[in-house]
């Protein structure tokens, strides 16, 4: 699914990849692709990650990975970094999720009484990036669907998600609901539908396998 999500990133884009799974999209990306990666802690033009031996102690991305610069990289403070986000200069953000609802609501910062890491930059990214893509496992560790009719967890942003990539499927959030576009090899449409809490719209034209 991580590899599948690399299709989202096109030359010329300004892109922010969330902490965790989304950042791993980079492992599958053509290193020569002319794309500008933004990191919340104040970089436009994040370069390849570095091992601890090669690391610059003052150069990390928002997830704490040691990174490098590229020709054209800029550094700025946190107010400028989020000015860039809120002003709508991000073409794409790829975020993780606790839950995504049929109407595109996203919950990914708070599980009350259990785990509340805090929102970090996710609220602004989800609300203001021109395209919001979620990359997540289809189900949580206890086997419950993360693609839900309605979010039971506190929201990060309402109606913000455009597309979801999971280990089971590629899904588009539309005005009519969630449309099943692709399923993972070895799965049937019925299996994906059964593993999903939200009602899935299966197009007459069929579903591709990835």
């Amino acid at each position: 699914m991580i590899k599948r999500a690399t299709d989202e990133i096109r030359p010329g884009m300004i892109v922010n990849l969330g902490i965790g799974l989304p950042t791993r999209v980079l492992d599958h990306l053509d290193a020569n692709l002319a794309v500008c990666l933004h990191s919340e802690n104040g970089i436009a033009g994040v370069g390849p990650s570095l091992s601890n031996n090669d690391a610059d102690r003052n150069l990390i991305d928002a997830g704490g990975t040691y990174v490098s610069t590229l020709p054209g990289t800029s550094f700025f403070d946190s107010a400028v970094s989020f000015s860039l986000v809120r002003r709508g200069r991000l073409d794409l953000t790829v975020l993780g999720a606790f839950q995504v609802a049929a109407n595109g609501d996203l919950a990914n910062w708070k599980i009350p009484e259990l785990f509340t890491p805090g929102p970090g930059g996710a609220i602004e990214l989800a609300q203001k990036a021109r395209r919001v893509v979620v990359l997540t496992t289809h189900q949580d560790k206890r086997g419950r669907s993360k693609i839900v009719k309605e979010c039971s967890l506190p929201l990060t942003a309402a109606g913000c998600v455009d597309r979801i990539y999971t280990d089971m499927a590629v899904l588009d959030v539309t005005k009519k609901g969630i449309v099943l576009r692709e399923i993972a090899e070895g799965l049937s449409v019925d299996e994906v539908v059964a593993a999903t809490d939200a009602t899935l719209i299966v197009p007459d034209t069929g579903v591709v396998t990835f």
């Binding site: 802690n41 104040g42 704490g64 946190s78 009484e113």
Partner: protein
């Protein structure tokens, strides 16, 4: 010379902080975190502090040292996910945590530093973070009123400084530092390199000296500043 020599001992600088003060601390993860100023605050032991910082560092370093020493009553942050101690203390209700969207935290601080009282935004309007906030309507849009966030003290880490308090940051160590340096009543900066007045290029200065009250030179850096093994 264009102004006072603000260089000071770390003991004298940090001893100005009193119990119950609000203290802003620069840094995003390790880069830009003023670990030496924090360690001196741990040594002196002021308590009941409200700490404003992007994150709560990782266990055993930076803000976590203040947490484990019981000096912090309240934390205003965007993220504590990399510090299980902070999450536990919040869950056990021994630590009050106020979460802010990261850019809103930055902007609230910037606002105070610019002498303003607040701003209007739609960020977070559909979230729990909007619950206790005043809303207002402009051009038919409902917006949240976000209040400026100031502090009694700001603790800043600079790469280079001069005795007047002109500061330069490096790499991703800039983050919240220049914003906090403007937003507190008293701004204390530690610096890795101290140069003579006139030796920093005016075009390259990030924080102008008039915002800074004390400059502490770090003759050597502790291991906290190094590359984190993970």
């Amino acid at each position: 010379m264009i102004g006072a020599d603000k260089t000071t001992s770390i003991e004298a600088a940090v001893s100005q902080i009193k119990d119950g003060n609000t203290v802003m601390i620069g840094g995003f993860g390790v880069p830009g975190t003023p670990f030496t100023l924090i360690e001196e605050l741990v040594r002196q032991g002021q308590s009941g502090l409200t700490v404003i910082k992007n994150d709560s560092n990782m266990p055993g370093m930076g803000v976590d040292r203040l947490l484990e020493n019981g000096q912090v009553a309240k934390l205003i942050v965007s993220h504590i996910g990399l510090n299980p101690n902070a999450v536990r203390m919040m869950n056990e209700k021994v630590l009050e945590v106020e979460f802010c969207a990261q850019g809103i935290l930055a902007e609230r601080i910037r606002c105070a530093g610019a002498g303003l009282h607040g701003f209007l935004t739609d960020i977070g309007i559909d979230t729990d973070l909007a619950n206790d906030k005043t809303t207002t309507e402009i051009d038919g849009k409902t917006l949240l009123v976000e209040k400026a966030l100031s502090a009694d003290f700001a603790l800043i880490h600079a790469d280079r400084a001069d005795p007047f308090g002109n500061l330069i940051y490096v790499g991703t160590a800039r983050n919240f530092n220049p914003l906090m340096a403007m937003a507190a009543d008293h701004t204390l900066a530690e610096t890795e390199t101290l140069v003579a007045v006139g030796d920093l290029r005016p075009e390259e200065t990030h924080t102008p000296g008039p915002f800074v009250d004390g400059v502490v030179f770090l003759p050597k850096l502790s291991e906290y500043y190094g590359v984190v093994e993970r």
